[in-house]
């Protein structure tokens, strides 16, 4: 007897569930906005774990750039609107956000970070012929060339290797968080800058907290420099544990582009002589007006990711102007315009860092060597 209602229920559940979903979703979706305007889709991680470090500063920098580009748009009589969707640091939300942007008619979508998000969206963007700029660390599927990555993990990181060689490092070790794809890639690219490669490679997991075993290995391998290709907080922790366990007094400590202020929060004084590459750092040449405008607008100092957002923003602006000049602004014309736009005069004029987007969807960015100042802020490293 108790089974009967259940049967009836299970018969109702599936169609019922679908009905509710349809009702909930059918009426959703953003309005298309001004029909003449070019809809620039910003798929930013505004909540979730990637928000504070990547999504929010990127959005700020990006919006600042497009705001400053308004004069140029007006001159060319082009209307541009930013449509923002929260990717929530999660694949499903990212794809849903992307779909909403597609529905709003955006010919171009920019996503700040996280490899899986980029990997999920890139094939769709190629299918939909929407230009897609992603901060993904890993390679993206890109059959029709619509996907671009704007993070160059390679060049600045390779420069790190060269820096170490120049500073007399003979035996270089690396600690890599091997369960995270970005850090494995970063370690490999650093090695390219080292003529002799790594003399000691130690793998840890992103969740590790005790490093005495790998530190003992490094001491035993007698290294004079160590590259920390791990999460920012973990890098800080590693330097503290180096100091605490001893034996690393004369060892150069180097990081990767992934280092952030979080490293200093953990390491504090232990990060004194720490050097690491960054896409951009405060005090870099030509950045002072950007820093000032940013601080005025958002009441905070820009980070490397703000700068990246700013640079990508100008690149997008230049691509839209170029595509408009040649005819219609759509996904295909933007795809064709982006590589040249990234090094165009307009971008060069406002540029705060070097970032070239290539036709095959990769990026070339030189970056800079940075270190922590006494108050924990980043600065361009003094040689």
């Amino acid at each position: 007897m108790s089974m009967k209602p259940t049967r009836r229920l299970s018969r109702l559940i599936v169609p019922g569930a679908i009905g509710v979903l349809l009702a909930a979703t059918g009426c959703a979706g953003p309005s298309a906005g001004d029909s003449d305007a070019v809809q620039v889709g910003l798929l930013a991680n505004l909540s979730g774990p990637a928000a504070t470090s990547f999504g929010v500063p990127f959005q700020h920098g990006f919006e600042l750039a497009l705001q400053q580009a308004k004069a140029a748009f007006d001159d060319a009589d082009v209307k541009v609107e930013i449509q923002t969707q929260d990717a929530k640091s999660e694949v499903t939300s990212a794809v849903t956000g992307y779909n909403k942007l597609r529905q709003a008619g955006a010919p171009i979508v920019i996503n700040d970070s996280q490899s899986p998000l980029g990997q999920a969206v890139a094939p769709l963007a190629n299918d939909d012929k929407i230009a897609f700029l992603s901060g993904a660390g890993s390679e993206l599927e890109n059959k029709d060339g619509f996907a671009f990555r704007f993070t160059d993990l390679g060049t600045p990181t390779t420069a790190m290797g060269q820096y170490l060689t120049e500073h007399g490092a003979k035996r270089v070790g690396v600690i890599v968080a091997s369960d995270n794809p970005s850090f494995a890639t970063l370690a490999d690219t650093t090695e390219k800058g080292l003529p002799g490669g790594f003399d000691s490679r130690q793998e840890v997991a992103s969740t590790d907290t005790d490093f005495s075993a790998v530190l003992a290995n490094l001491r035993d391998d007698d290294v004079d420099a160590v590259v920390l290709s791990v999460l920012p907080a973990q890098a800080g922790n590693l330097m503290l544990q180096m100091d605490q366990s001893g034996g690393f007094d004369h060892v150069i400590r180097a990081g990767t582009v992934a280092i952030s202020s979080e490293t200093y929060t953990v390491a504090e004084d232990a990060a004194d002589d720490f050097v690491f590459p960054q896409v951009w750092a405060p005090g870099m040449q030509g950045g002072s007006s950007f820093e000032k405008a940013y601080a005025d607008k958002y009441d905070e100092s820009p980070t490397a990711y703000s700068a990246l957002g700013y640079q990508v923003g100008w690149t997008v602006a230049a691509a839209i102007l170029a595509a408009d000049e040649d005819g219609d602004v759509d996904g295909a014309s933007l795809r064709d315009a982006i590589p040249a736009a990234s090094t165009s005069d307009l971008v060069a004029e406002h540029s705060i860092l070097s970032l070239e987007l290539t036709k095959d969807g990769a990026a070339v960015s030189e970056g800079v060597m940075a270190s922590f100042a006494d108050d924990g802020s980043m600065q361009v490293a003094s040689n």
Partner: protein, 544 residues
């Protein structure tokens, strides 16, 4: 037709993803609804994902073959895992299954072909919505069918009470192994479909967080309902999309919902709904109480026949204490052997040893010609060999009807089970209440249902452990009438009871246990009047 889920508009990917996760939730349901506390599904899903990706990308197998092949691989791994952990139960099984998922996660990061931490990209996305919906539909239909078949009854019995299920002749280990396989098949299918929907595999996703999410889906929807996965998925995956600004608190709210549902609605949303519906329906029909037992067909007393159960030198030890110390017992067809003795003398231990709940350290003999040495400690084999029992505390499926409880007793090969059940219920005088959930019956009637279930198997030997404890005199009379009817059919009965007067009147033979040894045995009058027995009872102050 290929992407009809596009009718969900921008949410098409979210719906596809949710459907795939519903499939994994169903895989959780398969084990949890059978009371198997094991959660290896995330690991099995990873095997399905990587299996299909490696087959199609690296080995050039067409996707249409790679997906089912990967599902079968995951199913096979499920069976293998079940065999590995066959000795574990309860929380230990849960831990082992979580450890398994962790082993898979670590292996994936280190084995060649999986792409390590980079995962795999460029996986063919030719899986259409038809595949996804087809797989979910097929799984749902299959599981609903399974639930309504006799297997469904077996699975419910395992969930409610594994030991009781074993005593109904169910090979719990075998059923468990098959269900692990089924769970693997579903998880593997889901994993493969996910890989081919997204076009890439992110190895980071197969973690404990995914498991908590899936468990939340199943628990909130209703763990024992096939539809529970759908309802739960609607809550867990649907809410964040319908409530703006909810994202920040979603995880917190999920945690709260889980705690509250487990505390106040253990059957989940569907459990609450089905109970409400059942109550509505119940109020239409007048309540029916149990009817008195009608004695069975009046066969002439057959007299005591050949030996049905013969056991000798039965010893059971618990940590150095000899609970049974070399007990010898025989009982013939149509004979009632009463077992009495002070508390702690080993009466229940004897029943538990003879029925397989405990494993004796030694013991010889045979039941219906089958050597006991092959059967000790295996309740399902002892049940199949012809030993049926009732329990000191009644063990029924309280939420199932009387008819379902009795039907469980029939061996699978019985044709037309429902008719056979009805006949037995009529004979036991229980047919008026066949549709009432067992949990709602008075104590005496519940005991009769338990005896009916024991008789359904048409056993050679019936073991009754204090069947009338705590009953009114009328209820007692009913039970003894039922036992008497069974005896007339030539059944051998071993009866443990405290009521010495009743035992003297009713039993053909009495056996007295004290400190795990047989103190006396013989005709009731001889035994009860012997000085030794009186001393033992007075010594322990327990003469009834």
């Amino acid at each position: 037709m290929d992407d009809f889920l596009s009718l969900f508009g921008v949410y098409d990917f979210a719906v596809r993803d949710a459907l795939v996760l519903v499939l994994v939730s169903l895989a959780l349901y398969v084990l949890l609804s059978a009371g198997i506390f094991a959660v290896p599904q995330v690991g099995l899903m990873a095997i399905g994902s990587y299996g299909s990706a490696i087959l199609s990308v690296d080995m050039g197998v067409p996707v249409a073959l790679a997906v089912p092949a990967a599902a079968v691989i995951a199913g096979a791994v499920g069976v293998l895992l079940a065999a590995l952990v066959a000795r574990l139960n309860g929380i230990y099984l849960a831990i082992a299954s979580i450890a398994f998922s962790e082993v898979v996660r670590v292996a994936v990061l280190n084995v060649p072909l999986t792409g390590g931490s980079q995962g795999k990209v460029g996986i063919s996305r030719e899986v259409t919505d038809l595949w996804i919906c087809g797989a979910v539909l097929l799984a749902t239909v299959a599981l609903v069918w399974l639930r309504r078949s006799r297997h469904g009854l077996v699975i419910s019995a395992m969930r409610v009470d594994t030991l009781m299920a074993q005593h109904q002749g169910i090979n719990v280990v075998r059923v468990r192994t098959l269900l692990f396989g089924l769970s693997g098949l579903l998880s593997g299918t889901a994993g493969a479909l996910q890989a081919h929907t997204a076009g890439f595999i992110d190895p980071g996703q197969f973690n404990f967080d995914l498991l908590t999410k899936l468990l939340a889906v199943v628990v909130i929807g209703g763990m024992t309902f096939v539809g529970g996965s759908f309802v739960g998925a609607l809550v867990i995956f649907g809410l964040p999309f319908t409530l703006e600004g909810f994202a920040e608190y979603q995880v917190l709210v999920n945690g709260l919902i889980i705690v509250l549902v487990v505390a106040f609605a253990p059957g989940g949303i569907l459990g609450v709904l089905s109970r409400l519906l059942a109550r509505l329906r119940r109020s239409d029909a007048p309540g029916e109480a149990g009817s008195p037992v009608v004695p069975g067909p009046g066969d002439a007393p057959a007299g005591i026949g050949p030996v049905a159960l013969d056991a000798d030198d039965v010893r059971v030890t618990f940590g150095g204490v000899h609970a049974l110390d070399g007990v010898r017992l025989t009982v013939g067809q149509g004979e009632v052997l009463g077992v009495i003795g002070p508390n702690g003398s080993g009466k229940t231990t004897l029943i538990n040893a003879l029925s397989g709940a405990y494993t004796p350290s030694s013991g010889t003999g045979a039941v219906d010609g089958v050597p006991l040495a092959l059967l000790w400690g295996r309740p399902h084999l002892l049940a199949r060999a012809g030993i049926a029992r009732t329990f000191q505390t009644i063990r029924l499926m309280d939420d199932k009807s009387v008819a379902a409880n009795v039907a469980l007793g029939f061996p699978p090969q019985v044709p037309r089970r429902s008719e056979a059940t009805r006949e037995l219920l009529v004979r036991m005088g229980l047919d008026q209440i066949s549709g009432v959930p067992a949990g709602e019956l008075p104590y005496g009637v519940r005991r009769q249902v338990e005896i009916a279930r024991a008789l359904a198997r048409n056993p050679r030997v019936l073991l009754l452990d204090e069947p009338t404890a705590g009953m009114s005199p009328t209820e007692r009379e009913g039970v003894f009438t039922a036992v008497d009817a069974a005896r007339r059919h030539g059944l051998a009965v071993v009866l443990v009871e405290h009521d010495v007067a009743m035992m003297r009147r009713f039993c053909d033979r009495l056996m007295v246990l004290d400190f795990g040894r047989v103190l006396a045995e013989g005709s009731p009058d001889d035994v009860l009047d012997s000085k030794e027995v009186i001393d033992a009872y007075i010594g322990s102050g327990a003469l009834a």
